[in-house]
Amino acid sequence: MTPASAPMGARMATGSAALPDVSGYSIVPQRHWGRWLAVAAIALLLAGLVRAFAVGQIEWDYVARFFTAPTILSGLFNTVVMSVGAMALGIALGIAAAVMRMSHNPVLRGVAIGYAWLFRGTPVILQLLLWFNLALIFPTIGFGEWSWRTVDVMTPAVAALLGLGINQGAYTSEVMRAGMLSVDQGQYEAAKAIGMTRMRSLRRIVFPQAMRVIIPPLGNEFIGMIKLTSLASVIQFAEILHSAQNIYYANSRVIELLIVAAIWYLIIVTILTPGQMLLERRFARGAGGSR
């Protein structure tokens, strides 16, 4: 071994003269054969699909025509209103269940756990059918003077609101609970120390901080809710899928109208996604790893 000392950047040792000098050779740009094969296959598939849709038995002018039909637009409106309403109910119930779940009272805790188990354990569609047909169990609702026929109360819209909202509440309660648990115990104590009651400290101190953890999953759940409302079509709530079905029962343009509904759903969901991000940024205020 002959330790060489040479100027920086130069060859430093011995023997490499035995190796061929490749310094003048140019590098052939890399071609990712397998990769481009995959791309080609996918492109072919997509092209085939597009062609099939174009020449297939879809009449695109029907899609265009019905895209803004009054029935469809009113269905769209109902979808959005129902999503907002059911989500609001879900959030209210979710907060109540989360607070009950964290109470010291075992009965309240048990009720909250049972609620989540029951409604997370059964399909929404089944819950909707049960609410809609509630009159088979309770012909009337209320006591004595104040009693109504269940069917008058339990319209498709009300059944959908209850079914979707109560089901959502079971999921939201978990989100809320995670949010509240994410707030440091010291925050409760600091709130108490300046004379706040438990309820006021939840409202002023704990929830605003929990929001940062709560908003992202809640945004996802809201987008899920938009799509969930489609199930209310089976109980005759006139949301957008129901509207589309009503039209195709009359004119047999099944695929065309399903496509109309699909495009509308994609539009709503695509609009909401950046909205969710804005909201998340808004609630990250003052965060930065303190505490």
Binding site: D184, K192, A193, I194, G195, M196, S290, R291
Partner: protein, 260 residues
């Protein structure tokens, strides 16, 4: 025991016991704090110092004994020779007499320094916002943070956060301030600024109970020093007595451990 003094004590703790599950954290603590007095509590980890403070402002409920603050029995109402628990709202009202500063600051991270300070006056005491803001600004100036009112806690150093926390407690105009190791979560170079704010407060005549390991502060500021061990008060007296010539062997052992 001794003759009645001129004014009644601000805090009177009588034979207080506290269990956590099977663990006996306070084993009968009695202590009076006079108005304007600064009392330092020292003692080893786990000796019950924090628990005692938390009993005084009712973050923890006592099992036996009684605590009077400003002439009121805390947490209970006497009726027919029996003690009845007070409602939550009553307890919240009683807590207004005490301010508390925590080891870990516990500022509200979603509020600016100013908002942290006015939260209590506006939301709890229902005072006018403009007035609360004016006072809050004065308090911030007093703890040397006049320029930080719009900063969120995450953007303040530990020492600055703790000074905001002191201002937040003072904003409620408490009769008594409790400090639970207010400097022990701070980097050494930040301890001084917080101690300075506390000294200024003591000089202004505030009644203070301070749990601390800063013996220098205790020696300089405390009227009395209390040494706790195993849920009991082992020794109490002037700072000079307790810190320089402790009577109890346990106190001596503790002091020599802390000083080395």
């Amino acid at each position: 025991m001794s003759a009645p003094p001129a004014s009644p004590p601000l805090v009177s703790i009588v034979d207080v016991h506290k269990h956590f599950g099977g663990f006996h954290a306070l084993k009968g603590v009695s202590l009076d704090v006079m108005p304007g007095e600064v009392m330092c509590i020292i003692g080893a980890s786990g000796s019950g110092k924090t628990t005692l403070l938390r009993c005084i402002n009712q973050l923890v409920e006592i099992d036996r004994g009684a605590i009077w603050v400003d002439g009121e029995l805390t947490g209970f109402r006497v009726d027919g020779g029996r003690l009845h628990h007070l409602a939550e709202a009553e307890i919240a009202r009683q807590r207004l007499a005490t301010g508390m500063v925590f080891q870990r600051f516990n500022l509200f991270p979603h509020m600016t320094a100013l908002e942290n300070i006015i939260e209590g006056p506006v939301q709890v005491q229902r005072r006018r916002r403009a007035e609360a803001v004016e006072e809050a600004r004065a308090l911030l100036a007093r703890v040397g943070l006049a320029d930080k009112e719009a900063s969120y806690p995450a953007n303040l150093s530990g020492g600055q956060q703790q000074r905001v926390a002191i201002a937040r407690a003072l904003a409620m105009k408490p009769k008594l301030m409790l400090f639970d190791e207010p400097t022990s979560a701070l980097d050494p170079e930040l301890v001084g600024e917080v101690l300075a704010a506390m000294k200024e407060l003591a000089a202004s005549g505030m009644t203070m109970i301070v749990v601390t390991h800063e013996l220098g502060f205790a020696r300089e500021v405390a009227d009395r020093v209390v040494y706790m061990d195993g849920g009991l008060i082992v020794e109490a007296g002037t700072a000079a007595d307790v810190l320089n010539s402790p009577r109890e062997a346990r106190t001596r052992a503790f002091l020599s451990a802390v000083l080395s």
